[in-house]
Symmetry: C2
Subunit: 451 residues, 2 copies
C-alpha cells in the first residue's frame, strides 16, 4: 500500500509519523515544496523575539529522521496536478526542474494555508515580508535585527505576536489594521482592553492605526516609506504583511475535490474528501464548529495535529473521528494573556443565537498574595436556551486556565445553570475562593433570570 502525503508542516508530518507507527510496512511518500518539513510555524514569533536563538529548535523532526523510519521524504518537490481517476500525481523537482508522474493508493492533502496579501503599489520592494515558512522566519528576523522602524499590516494573532517580537528587539512599530478593532476573534469591548494594554506596555514604541491599510510603499530598492489609506506617511525599514491566511486548495480544487462554503476542503469527521482514497487534514481542510454545529475554518496548530493523527488512523483502515473545534485559542503580548473558546457575540448572532453576556473583573488569586493580578472574563450564553456559547479572558494572570475550564462544558452543551456547579480548584496562590469564571457564571445566571 502506497500513501502519498502532500505537504508536511503540522498535519502532514503528524499523519506520516502516526501512519508509520500503525503500518510500518506501508510505503509512505511525502512531497513538500519547501526545504523544511515538520516545523512549528507558531514558534516563529518567539524566534524573532530572540527567546529562541536557533531556528532549528522549531524543527520537530528532520527529513533525515523521517527517512530513518522508512518514510520517503521529498523536499523541494511541488505537486503540480492530481489525477484521481488514474491515482497519479504530476510532480516537479524544484532543484532540477524535472517533472515526473507517480502513483498512489491513498492520498493525504495537507497543503496548509498561505498568507493573504492585499494589493498595494510597489509591493515588490525589498524588506516587505510575509511570515509562513521557516525561510520567512529567518528573513524577517534578519531584517528585524537590522531595522529601527517597522510596519505591520494586520492586527490578528501573527500581527500581535510579531509586534511583541519587534518591541522586544527595540524597534518602533506601527501596526496598521484594516478592521475597526484588533484581534477580531474577540468582541470589540475585549479588543479595546487589549489595545489599551498593548499601549500601557509599550506606548513609546507602538502606534496602532485601526480602520486603515497600506495603499503604497516607496523606496529605492528597499521599502523606506509606507502611505496609508487615511493619508499617514510612515518611514520604515521593513513591512510585515500579517493580514490573514487563506486555505491552500488550488491543487485539490483542480482535481475535483469538493471545497466547502468556507473555502477550505470539505471533509467528513474521518478526514475523507468527496473522492475515494483522497483525504485532507490541517489548515487546508474545513472544520466543524461544535458549538455552532456548522462548518468553519479556524486554522490552528493544535487542530492540525489532531486532524493529522485522525487522518492517519483512518488511512490505516482503522477508525477515528475528529468531531471538530470549539474555537479555543490563546496568545500573549509579553505577559498579557488573551484566550477564548466558543463563539464571540458577533459569531453567535451570525449562527442564529441570541447572545447575552457579562464581563467580570476580578483578582486571579487571593487578594493578599504578593503577585495577585487582575483578569477580565467575558462569558456568553444564549438568551433562550441558557446554553453556554463561549468565553473570552484577558489579563496578566492565568487567564487560559479559566477558559479551559469551560471547554468541556461547551463540548457537552452545558447550560449556565449546569456549569454553575463546576468545582474549580482553589488555593490562595492559584485562584480566589470563588473562581472568576464562576463569578461570571453567577452574574450571567442572575442577568438571564432577570430578563
Amino acid at each position: 500500500m502506497k500513501v502519498v502525503i502532500i505537504g508536511a508542516i503540522a498535519a502532514g508530518s503528524k499523519a506520516a509519523s502516526k501512519l508509520n507507527r500503525l503500518r510500518p510496512n506501508w510505503e509512505i511518500v511525502i512531497y513538500s515544496n519547501e526545504k523544511n518539513i515538520a516545523y512549528s510555524e507558531c514558534g516563529m514569533p518567539y524566534y524573532i523575539a530572540g527567546y529562541i536563538n536557533d531556528i532549528n529548535n522549531l524543527i520537530v523532526r528532520t527529513p533525515k529522521e523521517f527517512r530513518k523510519k522508512g518514510i520517503n521524504v521529498n523536499i523541494c518537490h511541488k505537486v503540480l496536478n492530481i489525477n484521481p481517476s488514474k491515482k497519479e500525481l504530476l510532480v516537479k523537482n524544484l532543484n532540477t526542474n524535472e517533472i515526473f508522474t507517480t502513483g498512489y493508493d491513498r492520498l493525504i492533502i495537507a497543503t496548509g494555508a498561505v498568507p493573504y496579501v492585499p494589493y498595494f503599489e510597489n509591493n515588490f520592494l525589498d524588506n516587505i515580508f510575509t511570515l509562513r515558512t521557516l525561510e520567512d522566519g529567518m528573513a524577517v528576523k534578519n531584517a528585524v535585527l537590522q531595522s529601527n522602524n517597522a510596519v505591520i499590516l494586520g492586527g490578528g494573532y501573527i500581527g500581535i505576536e510579531v509586534l511583541e517580537a519587534m518591541v522586544q528587539q527595540k524597534l518602533n512599530v506601527t501596526l496598521i489594521n484594516s478592521n475597526d478593532y484588533i484581534m477580531q476573534v474577540f468582541d470589540k469591548d475585549m479588543s479595546e482592553t487589549i489595545q489599551k494594554q498593548i499601549y500601557m506596555k509599550s506606548l513609546e514604541n507602538v502606534k496602532i492605526l485601526n480602520n486603515d491599510t497600506i495603499i503604497s510603499c516607496h523606496g529605492k530598492n528597499k521599502v523606506e516609506k509606507v502611505i496609508t489609506k487615511n493619508g499617514h506617511e510612515i518611514n520604515t525599514d521593513m513591512v510585515l504583511i500579517a493580514a490573514g491566511i487563506v486555505p491552500n486548495v488550488e491543487l485539490a480544487k483542480n482535481a475535483g475535490v469538493e471545497i466547502g462554503q468556507t473555502g477550505a476542503i470539505k471533509v467528513n469527521s474521518r478526514m475523507q474528501t468527496n473522492i475515494k482514497d483522497i483525504y485532507a487534514c490541517g489548515d487546508c481542510a474545513e472544520k466543524r464548529h461544535i458549538v455552532a454545529d456548522a462548518p468553519c475554518w479556524i486554522p490552528l496548530g493544535s487542530t492540525a495535529n489532531k486532524e493529522g493523527r485522525c487522518c492517519a488512523i483512518n488511512v490505516a483502515d482503522m477508525y477515528d473521528e475528529f468531531e471538530g473545534v470549539l474555537g479555543s485559542a490563546v496568545t500573549k503580548y509579553f505577559n498579557y494573556t488573551m484566550s477564548l473558546t466558543g463563539l464571540n457575540e458577533k459569531k453567535a448572532i451570525s449562527y442564529g443565537f441570541e447572545p447575552i453576556s457579562v464581563v467580570v473583573k476580578k483578582n486571579d488569586k487571593a487578594g493578599y498574595m504578593p503577585d495577585v493580578q487582575t483578569i477580565v472574563i467575558k462569558l456568553i450564553a444564549d438568551k433562550t436556551s441558557h446554553r453556554i456559547l463561549g468565553a473570552q479572558g484577558l489579563g496578566l494572570g492565568e487567564v487560559d486556565k479559566r477558559i479551559n475550564a469551560l471547554t468541556s462544558a461547551l463540548l457537552s452543551k452545558m447550560t449556565i445553570e449546569e456549569f454553575y456547579d463546576d468545582d474549580i480548584t482553589y488555593a490562595p496562590p492559584f485562584s480566589t475562593s470563588i473562581d472568576p469564571m464562576l463569578t461570571a457564571t453567577q452574574n450571567l445566571l442572575h442577568k438571564l433570570s432577570s430578563l
Copy 2:
C-alpha cells in the same frame, strides 16, 4: 425575621454578607467564639512563610465592616446550646462570662472544623501547635521566627504548605506522617513523585518519616525533643500538629440535628438540616460527591464559600441548590504544583468503580520555549463504562490548568471517548500542540480499547 449565624470564618461570613444584600431589612446576628471572623484560613501558611507580612491582610472583612452594613456581630461569644423547639440559643460571652438566652427565626450553623490531635505523652508542653485560627497563625509564625528546628506531624495539605513556610524561613524540618505516603488525596505512585520533588527542592533541610507518629514530647516547659513510634529521637524547637481536621458538630448533634455517615452535618442541596429552619454550611456540613454520587466530607474554602452563598439564598426564601463537589483541589510546594479532581484509584474502588489509569509525562509547553517544564498527569476512568473518574497532576508547570479542563467533563459524566474531542487552547508559550491532558486521554482510550 431574625437569622442567627453560628461561626463566621468562610461559610458563615459569606452567608451573612449575601443574606444582608438579599434581605437588607432582616435582623442578622453572628455569634463567633473567636476574636476574628471572615478570614482566610488557607492563607496562613503564606503568612508564616513571610510572603504576606501583615496577618490582617488575611481578614476579608472586619466585625466593624459587618456592623456598618447592619449585621450584629458578636465575637468571643460561644453558643453553648441550641433549643430547636423553643428556637432559642444559650450563649456565653467569653469576655464577661455572662450567659444569656436569645431567640432566632432561622439558624445557620457554620461551626467549621477543628484540628484532630492524636494523643501523645506531654502534649501540654509549650511550642506544640495546631493551625486553625488566626491566633494559631500568629503563634506559629512567632515560634517559627525563633526556631531552628521543627517537627510537623501530618503529611496532608497543611503539613506540606507549612513545610514550605518553615523551609522558606530557614528551619530544618522533620515531617512525621502516620500513613505510608504523604498527600493521601493522591494515589501512592503520584505521592512518591511528590516526596521525591520535596527532597529535590530541600534535601538538606527536610526529612520525611512515613509510617510513623509521635508517642511523646520532652522538655522543661517548652518542647525540646520528640520521640516517635519507630524510635526516632528528634531535637526540636517546636511541633506543629497537622494530622487532619474533624467537623465541629457537637453543638448541632446535641440539638438533635442529624449527622451524616461521614460525621458531618447532613444537609440537602439547599443546605437544610433535618430540623425546620436550621441550616448548615461550610466545613461542618456533609457534601455530596458528584462523581461518586455519595456523601463525602471534603472541607475546602471554595466549597464553604459556595455553600454559604447557597444557604443565604435559601434562608432568604429564594431558591438555590448546591449540587456538591468533584474533589477538585490544588496546592504547591514552592513552585511545584499538585492538583487533582474527581476520585483517586483507591476512592474509586471504594465507591464500586473499576479504575483504569494512565500516567503521562510531558512538556507543559512547546519544547523549544526557554521556560519549558515537565508535568505528570494521571488520568483515571472506569473500566466498564469508560466514564472519567478523576485526574491528578504534578509539576513545575501549569498543572492545575489541565486539571480544571477536566472538571466540567466530570460534572457532565463524560466518557473518555467524549472528552477526547476537547479543544484545549494551544500556543507555544502555553501548551504543546496536543495538550498533555489530551495525550493522557488518547493513551487511556488506547489502554481501555485493548483490554
